[in-house]
């Protein structure tokens, strides 16, 4: 009996030390907003996210806790509770909720590149049979668009609003949400749709696959390379003892094959440090759109 008690005591001490040690390990909390970043299916995404999270804290003794959330509200709540150190989200959400996020943000900001260009240029592609004069000549046409590209969709919404003073839903005859961005280009080629908007690199990819596609489509508009599709934000900076480590790791992510492979899982070409100024254009058109919306309401109200 004495031996049994001794064994129990030893076990208790061991486990308490183990859990205590484990508990004392610092944890970096990363929140991932799924909306706007749906390039992977759910299962692969979790695996890929965990791999990415580990890359964040590679070389340190901390552990990561990565949570995927479905709504920005959820993310903001977590940030407010001080539980989030890093947030990955679509740029559009940052634009829309920047006022709520900025109080918690740290100095570090990274932009996610889906192409080799630092910023994306959105192009409007129409079927060759379309008689394009200007944006208004696309009224009543069939649109194909990959709606998960929130910034791209916003830009279209903004531009239509700005040029045609109409919401996108009413401007086009139909809007087809394509599974991929490249499919929207193919829809236009096959005349399933009349028009699509895609990042230029996507169009280039499609052209690469079949150069003959050029005979069926034409690019009628460029947005300009002004858009960053997604961002990695830091929060609760003071509580982050590993900020330098993470910064370094993110900065050298593409230097290793493993890092590149992990990024490929997300169809990401690179994650590079960004300055808040690089978001200026996006913020400008976002604010401009808001203004347009507000003015439209007033006009509409006045007319009624």
């Amino acid at each position: 009996m004495t031996y049994l008690r001794l064994a129990l005591v030893i076990l208790l001490v061991f486990f308490s030390i183990f859990f205590n040690v484990h508990a004392q390990q610092p944890t970096l909390n990363i929140v991932y907003l799924e909306n706007g970043l749906k390039d992977l299916n759910k299962v692969d995404k979790l695996v890929a996210l965990n791999l990415l999270a580990k890359e964040f804290i590679k070389g340190s003794d901390s552990v990561t806790s990565l949570v995927a959330v479905n709504s920005i509200v959820e993310m903001i709540d977590s940030i407010k509770q001080g539980k989030v150190h890093y947030g990955i989200l679509n740029s559009y959400y940052y634009l829309a909720y920047s006022e709520q996020l900025k109080p918690f943000m740290g100095p570090d900001l990274w932009k996610i590149q889906r192409s080799f260009e630092e910023k994306e240029d959105y192009v409007l592609v129409v079927n060759k049979n379309i008689d394009y004069i200007d944006i208004k000549s696309l009224a009543g046409k069939r649109l194909s668009v990959h709606q998960d590209y929130l910034m791209m969709n916003f830009y279209l919404k903004y531009w239509i609003k700005k040029t045609a003073n109409q919401p996108v839903e009413k401007f086009f005859k139909s809007i087809k949400n394509t599974k991929t961005a490249s499919q929207s280009v193919l829809d236009v080629f096959f005349n399933t749709s009349d028009v699509c908007i895609v990042p230029e690199y996507i169009l280039n990819l499609v052209r690469e696959l079949n150069p003959a596609i050029n005979n069926g489509i034409k690019v009628v508009h460029h947005s300009g390379a002004n858009f960053i599709p997604a961002l990695v934000l830091t929060f609760n900076y003071s509580g982050n003892a590993y900020a330098d480590k993470v910064r370094n790791n993110l900065g050298t992510l593409t230097d290793t094959v493993r890092g590149q492979e992990i990024l490929n899982l997300f169809n990401i070409k690179n994650i590079t440090p960004a300055h808040h100024d690089s978001l200026t254009y996006m913020f400008d058109i976002f604010n401009e759109y808001a203004l347009l919306e507000t003015n439209h309401k007033y006009v509409h109200k006045a007319q009624n």
């Binding site: 194909s144 394509t178 599974k179 991929t180 490249s182 499919q183 929207s184 280009v185 193919l186 829809d187 236009v188 080629f189 096959f190 399933t192 749709s193 690469e208 696959l209 079949n210 003959a212």
Partner: protein, 493 residues
């Protein structure tokens, strides 16, 4: 068989992929959303490096060809591939585009029994070929390894099992050849070890058995020697005993003979009494006649001479009877030739008076030239015995016209046969086998010794080399004496 299995696997895989693509693309196919079809198939190819290309071939319209690097529209399908577009699944190994040895699989696309078109998928056979080659390599590898293992195992097996077995076998051969000093030195804890230990125990046991056997052998030899000595001694004694017994037997025989003779003598004395009665009566009458004539004073020389002649003849007859009997009982010491008929006649004469007394008719029918060699006294004793027996049985049974007949004839082979027969009804079957037994008699006690026939058989068969047997006929008993011709037999003394 493996190849067929691989073919089946490829077919199954192709069918599964086709169904998967069609299922995922069904809406797009129906809606003719070619953009989705291209995009989807690009994705499929991206995730399946073993698929070279996919061709979506609607019945009407352009075909969409998608491969790993690009896609394009085809106005027409190649003839070879177009032939595969049937109602059923088809597959073929083709060279298409820049691909060689492609497993080209064609799956018809039907929706609600409407034939929409076909899905062509080109699968790489590299994996299949690799699998086949891998299979062959594995097979060769396994065969080689197995062969090596078999060789190694065989080698070690030989060393481990066969060698000790061979050693034990050799030892067993040596043991079989008689060398029981050999022992197995194999000490193992397995069956071989058990065999070795058993072998050693067996040899020990054999050795012990051999020693015991040798010991027994020696004992036996000693015993045999002792017994042989005993037998030799016994033999010597036996010889002596035999001689004694033979002497005893001879003595017995002699006694029997003597008894027989005595019996015969007794008989003879009776016969003599019978024989002399009549002459003595006659002499008495002669004497009385002489006495009467003298008293009467009429005794003349002529009467005297006549009666004296008569008396002389009577006395002579009585004397010759004595001689006859004396001669009969005079033992013959030498084997001499004699005439059988003479002996029969002489012997019969001795019993003549008795026979006449009992009104027994004696007939002698014997050939004259029956000459043999032997002891005539003993032969006459036999004849006497047989006649006497016949007489006695005739006297007992009282047949009508009692007759004793004696036949004597010379046979074709030169042998002689003498038959003494009577008409007394025959020897009873119940005693037939016993008549030659010594001391067996059917007569009242005191009337017969029972050795007559026994002695007769001894004399005829042992001493004269003949046979004596009896049989019954319708009238009576027949005693048959068979004598070999004196030139063809040896007489026992």
């Amino acid at each position: 068989m493996q190849k067929n299995a691989f073919n089946q696997i490829m077919f199954t895989q192709a069918e599964t992929v086709s169904r998967s693509i069609i299922q995922a693309s069904s809406d797009a196919i129906i809606a003719k959303d070619y953009g989705f079809l291209v995009e989807h198939n690009v994705e499929v190819l991206k995730n399946n490096s073993s698929i070279y290309y996919v061709i979506v071939s609607p019945k009407i319209g352009e075909k969409i060809f998608v491969n790993q690097k690009s896609w394009k529209l085809l106005d027409v399908m190649e003839q070879e591939l177009a032939l595969l577009e049937t109602e059923t699944i088809n597959h073929k190994i083709v060279s298409y585009n820049e691909f060689d040895h492609v497993y080209h699989f064609v799956y018809p696309i039907n929706f609600s029994a409407i034939e929409w078109g076909w899905l062509h998928i080109g699968f790489s056979t590299a994996e299949y070929n690799d699998s086949i080659q891998h299979m062959y390599y594995n097979f060769s590898y396994i065969v080689s390894i197995s062969f090596l293992i078999i060789l190694l195992v065989g080698y070690f097996f030989a060393r481990w099992i066969s060698l000790p077995l061979s050693e034990i076998s050799q030892l067993a051969t040596q043991v079989a050849e008689g060398d029981l000093t050999v022992r197995s030195s194999i000490k193992r804890s397995d069956e071989i070890g058990i065999l070795s230990a058993s072998f050693n125990r067996m040899v020990d046991s054999l050795s012990l058995s051999k020693q015991q056997l040798q010991h027994y052998n020696q004992e036996l030899e000693h015993e045999v020697m002792v017994r042989t000595q005993e037998l030799a001694d016994l033999n010597k004694g036996l010889d002596k005993k035999i001689h004694e017994e033979v002497a005893k037997s001879k003595k017995q025989e002699a006694l029997l003979i003597h008894q027989s003779r005595s019996a015969a003598m007794g008989e003879m004395i009776g016969a003599i009494a019978h024989q002399w009665r009549q002459p003595l009566n006659a002499l008495g009458i002669v004497q009385q006649n002489l006495k009467l004539r003298y008293r009467m004073g009429s005794l003349d020389p002529e009467f005297m001479a006549t009666n004296m002649d008569k008396a002389d003849r009577l006395i002579q007859k009585m004397s010759s009877t004595i001689d006859d009997f004396r001669n009969f009982f005079k033992p013959n010491k030498n084997i001499q030739p004699f005439n059988i008929k003479n002996i029969i006649s002489t012997t019969a004469e001795l019993l003549d008076a008795q026979l006449k007394y009992h009104a027994i008719n004696l007939k002698i029918d014997c050939q004259d030239d029956m000459n043999t060699t032997g002891l005539e006294g003993e032969f006459s004793q036999v004849i006497l015995n047989l006649i006497n027996n016949a007489k006695d049985t005739l006297v007992e049974h009282q047949p009508v016209q009692p007759t004793i007949t004696i036949f004597g004839e010379k046979l074709i082979n030169g042998d002689y046969r003498v038959i003494v027969k009577d008409n007394a009804g025959g020897i009873p079957e119940a005693i037939f086998d016993k008549i030659y037994d010594p001391y067996f008699s059917t007569k009242e006690e005191g009337k017969g010794t029972g050795i007559g026939l026994y002695m007769s058989k001894i004399i005829i068969e042992n001493n004269m080399g003949g046979t004596l047997h009896a049989f019954n006929d319708d009238f009576g008993a027949n005693f048959v004496i068979h004598l070999k011709n004196s030139a063809n037999h040896k007489i026992k003394s």
